[in-house]
C-alpha cells in the first residue's frame, strides 16, 4: 500500500502521503503542526478535544471543518490549517477549557511541560470570556499513593489516560463518570488510586497533556538529605535514564549521557555515584541460576521476570494464584539498594548503617511504590530511601544551576558501578530475556557464545509487544516469550491457564516498549519513534562495551567471591531475593 503515493495540499502546498491514518499525521510529517490534546499516536483516535480542527476544501468546492486526527487523508483536497475560522475555533476551545481549569500554573508540577499552557501561550489567550470555576467547586486531590498525584481540577477530559489504562494495561482503572458538565475522569466511584487495582505504571500520567496526573515529587526530600552534613547520600540510576535524560536538556534523543550524569550528580552533592546496571548484571546471575534450577528440577515454569514493579503488583492483585511463577529475585533497584545498605558502611569510611541514604533514579513511577513495599525493608527502614524519576533529576540538575550539556564526562564509583552490555539493554523490552539467555547459554554449555545479538527479542514499536524466540542450549530448546504492556501479559497468562503455553521464560514490562518508555521519562507521547531511538541508544552502548555478558562483570564476580559465595546461595537469598503477597485477600477474593 505504501508504494502508491498520492498527494493532497496543505495551505496550497502539495504534500505526498502514503498510509498515514489521518490528516494530522500528514501535516506533522510535512514538518508542520496543529495543536492536539487528546491525540496520541500510540492510542486510538478519540476526536475529543477539537483542537486539531482544520478546514478541508474538496475539489468539488465543498468546504468542511473537521478534526484532522479523525479524518483519513484524501487525494486532491486542500487542508487549511491556519484559516481564520479554525483559529477562532481553537481559541474558543482553549478559553472554554481554561474557564474550567485550575490556572495556578506556577505551582503546578506540569508547568513548562503542560500542553494546555503551551497552546494558551501560542494562541495568545489573555482574556477568558467565560466565568471561571469557583475554588469552592474544586474536587479533592488524590495524593494517596507514592507514585501518582491526581488533580481532577486540571483535567480537560481528553480521555488519553482512560485509553492508556485500557489499551496499554487492559485494566481501565480510570474511567469517565457522570454526564455533561458533571463529567469527571476518576477511578471507580471516585475512590483513590491506592484503593483500586492501579499498578502505578504511570502511563496515564505520561499521556496527560495537563497537570491532572503528575508524578509524586520527592525532589525536596532528596535536597534535604544532601544538605544534611550528617548523612551520606549514595545514588544509583537505571539503564533507561542515560538515554532519556538528555532530552530534558535539548541533547539529541537517544544520546547516552551517563558520563555527564555522573558528573552532575557529584556536583549536586551525592557522596557516591553507583549504577543500577551493576545490579542488573547481578539480577541476571541470580535469575538465570534460578531458571536453570527450575528447568532442571522440573519446578514451576514458565518463570516470570520480576524487574517491573507494576507487573508485580498486577500479579499480586489479579493473579495471586500464580505468584509461584514469579522469579523470587528482587528488581535491580531492590538488589542494589540491599547490597549498598549492607556493604557501603563496610567498605567506605564515615558511612554507617544509620547515616546512609540510598537514592535511585528511575524512568518509572511504579518504582516509587516498589521502594515502599514492606517486603523491601530492613530493620523497619526502606532499603531504597527515595526514588526520583528521570524528570525529577532533570529538575534537580536545572535548579542546581548546572549547565548539563557542557559537563565533562566522569566515571562512576567502584565497586558497585561496573556493568556489561547485558545490563544496559535491560531498559528495552526484550533486554532482560536477551541478557539471561547470554549468561544461561555459557553457564550451561561452558562454551563461548560468539553471536550475542538475539535480534528476534528486540523491537519496541507497537507491533513488537509480544515476541517469541527459541534458543538451543546444548539440545535443550528454551523458548522465551517477551511482552510489554499488561494487556499483552494477560493474554500470555490466559494461555498458561488454558494449558496452551509452551514457553519457559516470560519477560514482562508494563510500559509499551519497556523502561525506555517509562512514565518517569521526559514526555514522548506525541512521537512513537522516540522510544525506538532510545532503545537504539542502549543497544549501541551494548555493542560498544567490551564485556557483554553479565557473568563477565568483574565487580559482580568479586562480590560473589568476597561476600555472596555463589548465585542463589543462602546469603544471596537473604539479600537479593524477596517474597510476594496475595493482595487479593484484602479485597474481592470472594468475587472471582
Amino acid at each position: 500500500m505504501s508504494e502508491d503515493k498520492k498527494t493532497l495540499f496543505i495551505d496550497g502546498v502539495e504534500v505526498e502521503f502514503t498510509d498515514e491514518p489521518n490528516i494530522l499525521e500528514v501535516i506533522r510529517k510535512a514538518g508542520l503542526n496543529v495543536p492536539t490534546f487528546c491525540y496520541r499516536p500510540d492510542l486510538t483516535q478519540f476526536g475529543a478535544c477539537r483542537m486539531c480542527v482544520v478546514e478541508v476544501e474538496y475539489p468539488n468546492g465543498r468546504v468542511m471543518v473537521n478534526s484532522s486526527c479523525t479524518m483519513p487523508p484524501e487525494a486532491g483536497i486542500n487542508v487549511k490549517i491556519n484559516s481564520k475560522r479554525v483559529r477562532k475555533i481553537r481559541k474558543t476551545v482553549l478559553e472554554l477549557l481554561l474557564a474550567n481549569h485550575d490556572k495556578e500554573c506556577t505551582t503546578c508540577d506540569k508547568s513548562g511541560a503542560c500542553e494546555l499552557q503551551k497552546y494558551a501561550e501560542e494562541y495568545g489567550i489573555k482574556d477568558i470570556r467565560f466565568p471561571s470555576k469557583e475554588k469552592e467547586e474544586y474536587l479533592p486531590i488524590d495524593n494517596s499513593n507514592p507514585s501518582i498525584v491526581r488533580d481532577p481540577n486540571k483535567c480537560i477530559l481528553c480521555g488519553a489516560c482512560v485509553r492508556a489504562c485500557s489499551e496499554f494495561q487492559g485494566h481501565s482503572v480510570l474511567g469517565f463518570a457522570n454526564r455533561g458538565s458533571a463529567t469527571v475522569v476518576q477511578p471507580m466511584a471516585g475512590k483513590s488510586l491506592s484503593d483500586v487495582d492501579c499498578v502505578f505504571c504511570g502511563q496515564c500520567q505520561a499521556v496527560c497533556p495537563t497537570g491532572a496526573l503528575t508524578v509524586k515529587n520527592n525532589v525536596d526530600q532528596v535536597w534535604d538529605e544532601i544538605n544534611n552534613p550528617d548523612k551520606k547520600v549514595v545514588v544509583q540510576m537505571a539503564p533507561s535514564v542515560r538515554v532519556g535524560l538528555g532530552e530534558a536538556f535539548g541533547i539529541e534523543v537517544g544520546s547516552n549521557v551517563i558520563g555527564k550524569l555522573n558528573a552532575a550528580l557529584r556536583k549536586i552533592g551525592f557522596d557516591f555515584v553507583f549504577d543500577t546496571n551493576f545490579s542488573a548484571d547481578l539480577t541476571i546471575m541470580e535469575e538465570a541460576t534460578e531458571f536453570l534450577d527450575r528447568l532442571n528440577n522440573k519446578k514451576t515454569l514458565p518463570l516470570f521476570t520480576s524487574c517491573c514493579p507494576a507487573w508485580i503488583r498486577y500479579m499480586e492483585t489479579q493473579h495471586p494464584d500464580m505468584l509461584g511463577h514469579l522469579s523470587s529475585c528482587k528488581s535491580p533497584q531492590g538488589m542494589l539498594s540491599a547490597v549498598l545498605k549492607e556493604l557501603v558502611p563496610e567498605k567506605f569510611e564515615g558511612v554507617t548503617k544509620d547515616n546512609l541514604v540510598v537514592v535511585s533514579i528511575m524512568p518509572c513511577t511504579a518504582k516509587k511504590y516498589e521502594a515502599n513495599r514492606s517486603q523491601l525493608t530492613k530493620d523497619g527502614k526502606a532499603e531504597t530511601d527515595y526514588v526520583l524519576t528521570t524528570k525529577e533529576i532533570a529538575q534537580m540538575i536545572k535548579s542546581a544551576g548546572i549547565d548539563f550539556a557542557s559537563l565533562k564526562e566522569e566515571q562512576n564509583d567502584s565497586p558497585f558501578g561496573k556493568y556489561t552490555g547485558a545490563a544496559t539493554i535491560f531498559g528495552a523490552s526484550g533486554g532482560v530475556a536477551e541478557a539471561a539467555v547470554r549468561t544461561a547459554y555459557e553457564v550451561v554449555t561452558g562454551e563461548k557464545l560468539n553471536d550475542v545479538d538475539f535480534k528476534v527479542l528486540r523491537g519496541v514499536d507497537k507491533n513488537s509487544r509480544t515476541k517469541d524466540a527459541e534458543v538451543d542450549i546444548k539440545g535443550t530448546k528454551v523458548r522465551v516469550r517477551v511482552v510489554s504492556t499488561l494487556k499483552e501479559a494477560e493474554k500470555s497468562i490466559q494461555e498458561i491457564k488454558a494449558g496452551k503455553a509452551d514457553f519457559h521464560i516470560l519477560e514482562v514490562m508494563a510500559c509499551p516498549g519497556g523502561c525506555i518508555n517509562g512514565a518517569g521519562q521526559p514526555a514522548s507521547c506525541n512521537n512513537s519513534k522516540i522510544k525506538e531511538v532510545r532503545a537504539e541508544g542502549l543497544y549501541k552502548e551494548d555493542r560498544e562495551l567490551d564485556l557483554r555478558k553479565s557473568h563477565e562483570n568483574p565487580d559482580v564476580k568479586k562480590l560473589y567471591d568476597e561476600y555472596l559465595e555463589k548465585p542463589n546461595s543462602h546469603k544471596a537469598h537473604e539479600l537479593l531475593h524477596t517474597v510476594y503477597a496475595d493482595m487479593f485477600a484484602n479485597g474481592y477474593k470472594d468475587l472471582k
Binding site: 485500557s166 480510570l174 474511567g175 463518570a177 457522570n178 477511578p187 479485597g587 474481592y588 472471582k592
Partner: protein, 166 residues
C-alpha cells in the same frame, strides 16, 4: 486490592442475573437494569463485582455507564417509590405544587430523596404518557391521576396508616 465496603450483598443473585442476560459486556445495561430491579439501586460493590467478572469491563467502566444514564440510581430507593411526572402537560397543570407537597409531607433530609426510615423515595420523571390525567403521580406502579397538594396528603396518609406508622 480494591477495597470492599462492610455491607454484604447476595452476589449469587447477581450471578444469576448475569447468567440470564449473558455475561457479556454488550449486555451491561440489561444486567444493570435487572440488578436495580433486585436491589432497588446499584450498590458500588455489586458494580465492582460485575466489572471484575465480565471480560472487557472494569469497575470504573461499569460505574461510568451507571452514572451516565438517569435511569440508574446509586442510592437505595424506598419501599414506596414515588414517581412524580414533570413533563410539559403535568408541569403546566401544576406538578410543582404536587412535588413540593410530597417533599413537605415526607420531610426529606437535605440533598436526599429518600426518607430516613427507607419507606418512601421520590424521583421526577419526564412524561409517563398519561398527559390526559395530568398532573400524574405513580407509587409502585399504581397511577394517581389529577393530583393536587391536598390529594397528595390523603394518599400518603393512607399508606402511612397502612404501615402502622407515625
Amino acid at each position: 486490592m480494591t477495597t470492599q465496603s462492610p455491607e454484604k450483598f447476595d452476589f449469587g443473585k447477581v450471578d444469576k442475573i448475569m447468567e440470564e442476560c449473558g455475561a457479556d459486556k454488550s449486555h451491561l445495561i440489561a444486567i444493570l437494569q435487572n440488578v436495580q430491579k433486585e436491589f432497588t439501586y446499584l450498590p458500588i460493590d455489586v458494580m465492582t463485582y460485575i466489572g471484575t467478572k465480565i471480560e472487557g469491563l472494569s469497575p470504573a467502566t461499569v460505574y461510568g455507564v451507571a452514572t451516565f444514564y438517569a435511569q440508574f440510581s446509586l442510592e437505595p430507593k424506598g419501599k414506596y417509590q414515588i414517581k412524580c411526572c414533570d413533563g410539559t402537560a403535568c408541569h403546566v397543570r401544576g406538578s410543582m405544587p404536587v412535588m413540593n407537597a410530597i417533599k413537605a409531607k415526607l420531610k426529606f433530609a437535605e440533598g436526599k430523596m429518600r426518607t430516613e426510615d427507607g419507606m418512601f423515595s421520590l424521583e421526577t420523571v419526564s412524561c409517563l404518557g398519561a398527559c390526559g390525567l395530568a398532573p400524574v403521580m405513580v407509587i409502585n406502579e399504581k397511577v394517581y391521576p389529577q393530583m393536587t397538594s391536598d390529594a397528595v396528603k390523603i394518599v400518603l396518609d393512607e399508606i402511612i396508616a397502612q404501615e402502622g406508622g407515625k
